[in-house]
Each structure stands twice: as C-alpha cells, then as structure tokens.
C-alpha cells in the first residue's frame, strides 16, 4: 500500500519536474553546476573501477580458456562483450547509484529540513522544477559519457593486463575485441545507461524532497534512495535486456 502511494507520488512529482524552466539562465547555471559537481567529479571513481575490473575480467577469462580448440582471441571477445553489455552500463551504474544517489538525496533532503525548499515555494518558485530538472538533464549527458569512458578504460585495462602478463599477443586481443562487434550492443548499452541515470537521479531526488524530520531521517532516506534505485536498476536491466537483445 505504502509502495503504491509512493509510486503515485513519484509520478506526480515528475509532472512538476518536467515543466519549462521559468528562467533559462538559472536553469543553465544549475545544469552546469550539476554536470561539474556530480558528473565530472565521478570520473576518478569510474576510471579506477573500470580499469581494474576490466583487467580482472580479461585475466579471469584468459585463465579459464585453456581449451586448445578455442582460438586465443576469444579472450578479447569475451572481455569486450562483458564490459560493453554488462559491466559498464549496469555494474558501473549500480556503483554510481551509491555515490550520486546518496549525494543528491542528502543535498535535497537537507534543503527540505532546513526549510530552504519552503522558502522557494513561498517565493512562488516551482522548487521541483528548479532543483530536479537540471539534475535530470545533466544526468542525461554525463551518464552516457561516463559509461563510454568506462568501456574504453575497461577494455584498455583488459588489454594491458593480458599483454603485460604475456597471456596473449596484442594483435590477438585486439582481433578478439573486434570480432562479432555489433554497434547495436552500444545502442543497447547506452539505452540502459540513460534509463538507469534517470532512475538514479529522479528516485534519489524523490527521497530527498519528501523527507520529514531531521538529520537522522536525511541519512535514512538517502540510504533508501540508493537501495531503491539499485533494485529498480536490476529490474529494468532485466526488462530492457529481454526487450532489446532477445527480439
């Protein structure tokens, strides 16, 4: 029952978020701020995670494929598809849900309990639109950028790991990366990314915006925001995959 009500409130909220901004200049300022503080600031985390996980995926694949019937470039192929199909768009987004989701929901939650949102409302500002639309819009841009960046670094990490450890020749690994390469996979991955980015930002905003109480509740609701966005990501990962890959 409570879940149904929350879902209803979430969609009502989106109705207020997606309005034309009253002043484009203010929207743009917030947009840039979000892009910078949330998007750009996530680059180190994405870089670190992707490089190392990419390396480990490649090493594990190489160590598992010792069947002489399989050509060695299979390692490149498997690394490529795990990173592009699943690691970068899904696992990376789950990690970002933790970082970005808690950030957004505690920021908005603090504004709620210190009456800053009330202050905006009293002025006649549509606070949902002013606060959340720039976050959503920025996420539509920085999430795909971060994920493409993550794919690139993941593959580079894999490349370095197998080549340095001498498991595979560089040519073979690259041959693997390029075999059966389908641009549709990139479309699929970026579709997931955009959807997940939207869920993370909008769900965390929701939990921040409707928080009641004090600092303790802000903390609790940002935890809830992360948990709920992660669950929603997992469910939609399944749905989108079913729809896009198994037509």
């Amino acid at each position: 029952m409570k879940y149904l009500r929350n879902i209803g409130r979430y969609f009502l909220m989106l109705g207020f978020v997606f309005r034309r901004p009253k002043k484009f200049r203010l929207f743009y300022r917030q947009f840039i701020r979000e892009f910078d503080e949330v998007g750009i600031n996530s680059i180190p985390l994405v870089a670190l995670m992707s490089t190392f996980i990419g390396a480990v995926i490649a090493l594990q694949t190489a160590s598992n494929i010792d069947n002489p019937l399989l050509p060695s470039y299979t390692v490149g192929y498997i690394t490529q598809s795990s990173i592009i199909l699943e690691f970068s768009p899904t696992i990376m987004c789950l990690i970002l849900a933790g970082k970005i989701g808690s950030n957004i929901s505690s920021e908005i939650g603090t504004m709620r309990i210190t009456e800053q949102i009330d202050a905006m409302e009293v002025m006649g500002v549509n606070s949902l639109n002013y606060l959340i639309l720039p976050k959503v819009a920025a996420a539509f841009i920085y999430f795909p950028i971060l994920v493409i960046f993550s794919m690139f670094l993941g593959l580079s990490g894999g490349f370095l790991a197998v080549v340095i450890s001498g498991l595979l020749s560089p040519q073979n690994f690259v041959l693997g990366l390029r075999s059966w390469f389908d641009t549709y996979n990139i479309v699929y991955a970026l579709t997931k990314t955009v959807a997940f980015g939207f869920f993370i930002v909008s769900i965390s905003s929701f939990y921040g915006y409707y928080v009641k109480g004090g600092a303790l509740e802000v903390g609790k609701s940002s935890t809830r925001a992360v948990v709920v966005s992660s669950v929603v990501i997992l469910i939609f990962n399944f749905i989108i995959t079913k729809l896009m890959l198994l037509k």
Binding site: L26, M123, G124, V125
Partner: protein, 255 residues
C-alpha cells in the same frame, strides 16, 4: 489585506489550531504573539500555503488563496516576502546570491540594477559589504538579517517575519524593528510579525494577536495589552516578578 477565516489545523491527531480568524490590514504592523509551541508558526505557514488547514479560508485582498489554481498561487506568492524562524537561507549560495535569487527569478532587471538592489537591501539590514559570505560564515543574527533582506528584495506586498529579532542584541533588534515598521508604512504593505519580544511589541505593534493553546485568545493594540485583565495575557506580558510588581503599581495608580 489578509484575512484568515476559521483556520483549523492538525498534525495527525494533535490539533494545533482551533478556528483562528483574524484580519491583517495594510500599512500596519500586525503582531502574532504567544508562548512557545502555541501555534504561531503553524498559523503563519497556513497563511502562505506551506501547511494546508483542514478547514478555513485564507483571503488575500478577498481572493481565497487555498482554492486558487497553481499559477495564480505562484503569482501571488511572488508578492509575499517571508522570513523563516530558522532563516532558511540557501546554503549553497552567498549572501548576495541569496538576495538576488528572487530578483533573477521574477524580474527582468539588468545585472547593474540587481546589484544596486542587493546593496540597498543589505544596507537596510546593516550588512553592507557582506555580499560574498556564505550563510555558514554568518552568525545567527546575521543570517536573520540576510533573511529579511531576501524577503524584502522584491518589494513584497505582504511581509511575514517569524521571530525577526530573536537572537539579536537589543540594539540590532531595534534596528530591525524600525526597518520592518518603516517599510510597512513607506510602501503600505501588510506586515505580519511573530515575536516573543515585549520590546518589539511595545515598539511596533499596531495590531496584536495573542495565540494561546492554538486559539485566538486576545486581540488589541499595544496600549490595551498593558491594561488587559486577561490572566493569560498578563502572564505573558508581565512574566517576571519584577514586571508583575510594576503592573501592580500601575494598577494602583489607576485606582
């Protein structure tokens, strides 16, 4: 003019306001006084639509605020300035940006005009030159004053101040009281001030509403508050033993 009619407000099963009705006239400083936790803030928040009363009407110049559509509400709200009890400054913005926020949201002022307006508002609350500070770098009293500067930046028609001078020293408190009174008279706005401070009551109270246990207990002007026979009013106004003595001498003289 703002008119509240039969406001009832509860939180869960705790009723906070009982049938409060009042009129607040323009060009006058209207005070809401009362002990802590009696529903003053809740009443003010009902009047600006931050709380939704279960029953009652809020009329701004005869138009019912609660039944308006969103866009007329929003238009009306841009004529309301409000200082919150906890200041509610935007903590990611500097003092200057806080005051500029309503200006850039609702006016087409040029950069220069805005700067001018910001400096003017800061000067009125004795904070000239503090433009670049962040709220976290301001003292509590300074935050209050920035809150007032932000509330008056758009030249509001209706001004709500929730405890504008709590936490201020007596001298600054008088500056703020005078500021509120001056702009009320100068621009003929409808001002509503919540306060516990007897100094302010005597200084600026044109029309005083005493809220007790969520009800409108008493209404009058600052002269009649001293001579009222209402026991709760007396307990509030003459809270200290010393003041009680003064009251009895006053009474003695009258007889």
């Amino acid at each position: 003019m703002i008119e509240a009619k039969g406001i009832n407000k509860s939180f869960g099963n705790q009723q906070v306001l009982f049938d409060v009705s009042a009129q607040f006239h323009p060009g006058k400083v209207n005070l809401i006084i009362g002990q802590s936790g009696q529903g003053k803030t809740v009443l003010a928040k009902c009047m600006v639509g931050l709380h939704h009363p279960e029953k009652g009407e809020i009329l701004f110049n005869g138009k019912d605020f609660l039944s308006m559509d969103k866009s007329s509400q929003s238009n009306l709200r841009s004529e309301i300035g409000m200082l919150f009890q906890g200041s509610a400054l935007f903590d990611s913005m500097t003092v200057e940006e806080n005051i500029k926020f309503p200006l850039s949201m609702f006016t087409k002022m040029s950069k220069k005009e805005m700067q001018h307006r910001v400096d003017f508002c800061l000067e009125r609350v004795n904070l000239s030159g503090k433009n670049a500070l962040y709220p976290s770098e301001c003292s509590g009293g300074m935050q209050k004053r920035v809150g007032i500067a932000r509330a008056i930046s758009l030249n509001p028609k209706y001004l709500f101040c929730d405890e504008p001078n709590s936490g201020l020293d007596p001298k600054t408190a008088i500056v703020i009281d005078n500021l509120i009174r001056d702009i009320t008279y100068e621009y003929h706005i409808t001002t509503l001030v919540i306060t516990h401070d007897m100094n302010s009551v005597m200084e600026i109270g044109d029309n005083i509403l005493f809220i007790h246990q969520g009800k409108k207990w008493w209404e009058g002007d600052r002269k009649s508050i001293l001579t009222s026979d209402n026991p709760e009013i007396n307990a509030f106004v003459f809270a200290s033993e010393f003041m009680k003595e003064i009251r009895s001498t006053l009474k003695g003289q009258k007889r």
